[in-house]
């Protein structure tokens, strides 16, 4: 078991290395650097000035050197001030060192956000906290509802409850966040006026009034999917021999479902819920932009829209990490839950 986890962690590290390199490459494409230089210098700068800005801020060093610097295996060099010729800080707004130091991701330094004029860490972690709150609420709503729907539908395959719930869950998987968000806003905010169509105030304090719409919108897409998986798993379990035995023994249907079927039927949904995180991530971006909630997704869009290299790298590192770690948890958890698949 331990060696399996270690091997998986090794693959994970390799994957992250490859992915960050790809992201690093794509962000640092020539047009993107140009755009960054234009947005960081004053209006109407000539091409030479843009170029010298890029050189001065170290964007013209060798690609691999810069990647290694970002990673923290090669010391970051201070830039030379063109006026004085002395070493100077790369960006004054986030305490860049004036002597060569190892200051990369491995040392816990995520770099400098050019858009927000602050260190990436000071932007990214509060945003992650905000998104964490959102995610917790979503999971707290999504998981019980979807499991309940799935179990009720799968309990008696082909019954009317099953048909109705199945069509409802198919409908919910057909509703992406930007669709359900609009529809919910129209119904609950514009017509009924019960809820707030913007979650901008949720950064100060979460209330039912400003937080329900984002949570609802995010949950609805996942509910259908998890419910379908739970239903499939439940249907399969209900046809097993031991369920029939339990029924023939004279146990009531309810107690068979709760005591015998549920435990085995919930193994598959666990994996599905874990693997749902990458999807939720996209949903989070949409919902946070739509409801103006200042979380991780909002930061990602801001970073991507303004070509904020370090911030976007930080965001991608975090999101890739989340995807990979949930995959790992789902694999390990699956093995733990299902004695038949215990890893040798």
């Amino acid at each position: 078991m331990l060696s399996f986890v270690i091997r998986r962690l090794g693959t994970m590290a390799l994957t992250m290395l490859c992915l960050t390199m790809i992201v690093f490459f794509l962000i640092n494409l020539e047009p993107n650097l140009k755009k960054l230089a234009i947005s960081q210098t004053e209006m109407h700068t000539s091409a030479e000035q843009l170029e010298s800005w890029l050189v001065n801020h170290g964007y013209r060093q060798n690609f691999f050197v810069r990647y290694a610097q970002w990673l923290g295996v090669v010391p970051k060099q201070p830039v030379t001030d063109p006026a004085t010729g002395k070493p100077a800080q790369r960006f004054s707004f986030c305490n860049d060192p004036v002597v060569p130091t190892f200051a990369g991701v491995l040392e816990g330094d995520f770099g400098c956000s050019t858009k927000f004029k602050a260190s990436v860490a000071s932007k990214l972690f509060p945003a992650l906290g905000a998104t964490g709150t959102l995610m917790l609420c979503v999971l707290a709503v999504m998981v019980p509802i979807s499991l309940l729907i799935g179990i009720l539908a799968g309990m008696r395959e082909g019954s009317r409850t099953d048909r109705v719930l199945s069509v409802a869950s198919i409908a919910s998987t057909a509703t992406p966040e930007y669709v359900s968000g609009v529809i919910f806003t129209v119904i609950f905010a514009s017509w009924l006026g019960w809820l707030n169509g913007s979650a901008a105030s949720a950064s100060q304090g979460i209330t039912f009034y400003n937080f329900t719409l984002p949570v609802m919108t995010l949950a609805i897409y996942g509910i259908g999917y998890i419910a379908r998986m739970t239903r499939a798993s439940m249907v399969e379990v209900m046809t097993q021999q031991y369920i029939r035995t339990a029924r023939l023994k004279g146990l009531s249907f309810g107690s068979v479902v709760v005591k015998h079927a549920l435990r085995n039927a919930l193994i598959a949904p666990f994996t599905v819920i874990m693997l749902q995180f990458p999807w939720l991530l996209t949903g989070v971006v949409i919902v946070e932009v739509m409801f103006r909630y200042q979380g991780f997704g909002y930061t990602l869009v801001e970073a991507a829209g303004n070509n904020d290299i370090d911030l976007l790298l930080g965001c991608s590192l975090v999101s890739v990490f989340i995807v990979l770690i949930t995959q790992l948890i789902s694999d390990v958890g699956y093995a733990f839950l299902n004695p038949r698949i215990r890893v040798q």
Binding site: L19, I22, L26, K34, I170, A174, P176, L300
Partner: protein, 385 residues
């Protein structure tokens, strides 16, 4: 001069009547399908369940809407009539006397016509991108599942790499105006669009190796048609100027194929690993058939059930992806009538006007719902056998 309105009931009637070519086409196709459903194999079985009928109906509805868009829509989707800015549904355009059935948006364009024309964009890109993703996924998934070992390790690692990217980040990196200045989208298009040509060439080669008369014709057709489309799509160098794709549409197309082919790869790989243990594969191996013949002519046809279901779901998912791209304003032109862009434009103004937001959202939702219902009933039917 105030804008005249017609009543809500008349709006409904007029919307229904504007779709007249769709209703006629639907009637013909559905009627024919019902009449001959015994002879239509899997497609015919769809008409045995209510879910299947609804699914096919919705998909066909949007298909015909896309085909007859020019007849259905009363206005040009890009035309702006200043007096009609933000008008409510049912407003009559004074000059032509035609109605803005679903009202006007903030740029005074007809929401109804935009919704109808939006279906064209979705129904061209989504199935085509899914088709290419299927080709890529199948061509790579077959050897990975069949041979296993190193080739499987490498390909699976690459697939997992792409799958570990959150889709939205991938799009922000791959679908930007800046990236069109670099050769990356063209290189990716060049690689992806090769796969169908490779696929069909190998397909015909393995089957008709010993029958040159058939082989040369089929290979020739594949290479000429494939090469022609390839030249048109990748290099925009179609000599006849028929095959043409806008650079930003190519960019979207490539990004969508890139994002969804690893999923197909995984499914194909899993199916192949399951099917290759069957007796008929062992029989083919004993006959001395070549590995690629076994993969393409023994394994692939037996994997078609799950693949068809997956393709249906995937077209729906691609539609959602396209909507996401439109919603974030990536790739598609800002005035493009596709549903995602329309939702983005309308959702910013929800506080003042809700009517421009509803038609594209409901259109997108119903189309994806139709595909999902179709996939569900296909799955059910194929499980019965």
């Amino acid at each position: 001069m105030p804008v005249q309105y017609i009543s809500a009931f008349t709006v409904v009637l007029e919307v229904l009547s504007r779709f007249w070519p769709v209703w006629i086409a639907l009637l013909i196709v559905m009627g024919a399908s019902f009449a001959y459903k015994k002879k239509l194999a899997l497609y015919g079985q769809l008409f045995d369940s209510g879910v299947g009928i609804v699914g096919v109906g919705i998909c066909l509805f949007w298909l015909f809407t896309a085909i007859f868009a020019a007849t259905i829509s009363p206005f040009d989707p890009l035309a702006q009539v200043p007096i009609m800015k933000d008008v409510l549904p049912g407003a009559i355009e004074p000059q032509s006397g035609l109605t803005y059935l679903f009202g006007g948006d903030k740029l005074a364009r007809d929401v109804f016509s935009r919704m109808v024309y939006g279906s064209q964009i979705v129904l061209i890109i989504a199935p085509a991108a899914t088709g290419f993703a299927l080709m890529v996924g199948i061509t790579l998934g077959l050897p990975a599942g069949y041979y296993g070992g190193k080739i499987d390790t490498v390909l699976s690692f690459l697939a997992n790499l792409v799958l570990a990217f959150p889709v939205i980040l991938l799009f922000y990196l791959l679908v930007t105006p800046g990236i069109m200045d670099t050769p990356i989208p063209y290189a990716m298009a060049g690689v992806f669009f090769l796969f169908p040509i490779i696929f069909f060439s190998v397909l015909f080669w393995t089957r008709y190796k010993n029958r040159p008369d058939r082989l040369y014709i089929l290979l020739g057709i594949t290479l000429i048609v494939g090469g022609w489309i390839y030249a048109g799509l990748v290099f925009d160098a179609d000599p006849l100027k028929i095959v043409h794709i806008d650079p930003n549409q190519l960019n979207i197309f490539v990004a969508v194929v890139f994002a969804s082919s690893p999923g197909v790869f995984r499914i194909v790989r899993g199916l192949v690993m399951d099917i290759k243990t069957r007796d008929y594969v062992a029989a083919a191996q004993t006959r001395g058939e070549s590995p690629w013949y076994i993969m393409l002519w023994e394994i692939l046809p037996n994997a078609r059930g799950p693949l068809i279901v997956d393709a249906c779901l995937r077209i729906g998912y691609t539609t959602i992806l396209l909507g996401t791209l439109g919603y974030f304003g990536l790739g598609l032109a800002p005035e493009s009538p596709d549903w995602g862009t329309a939702i983005k434009d309308a959702s910013r103004l929800l506080r003042s006007f809700i009517h421009p937001a509803l038609p594209p959202t409901i259109a997108l939702m119903s189309f994806v719902l139709g595909l999902n219902l179709l996939a569900d009933s296909l799955r059910e039917q194929s499980m019965k056998d």
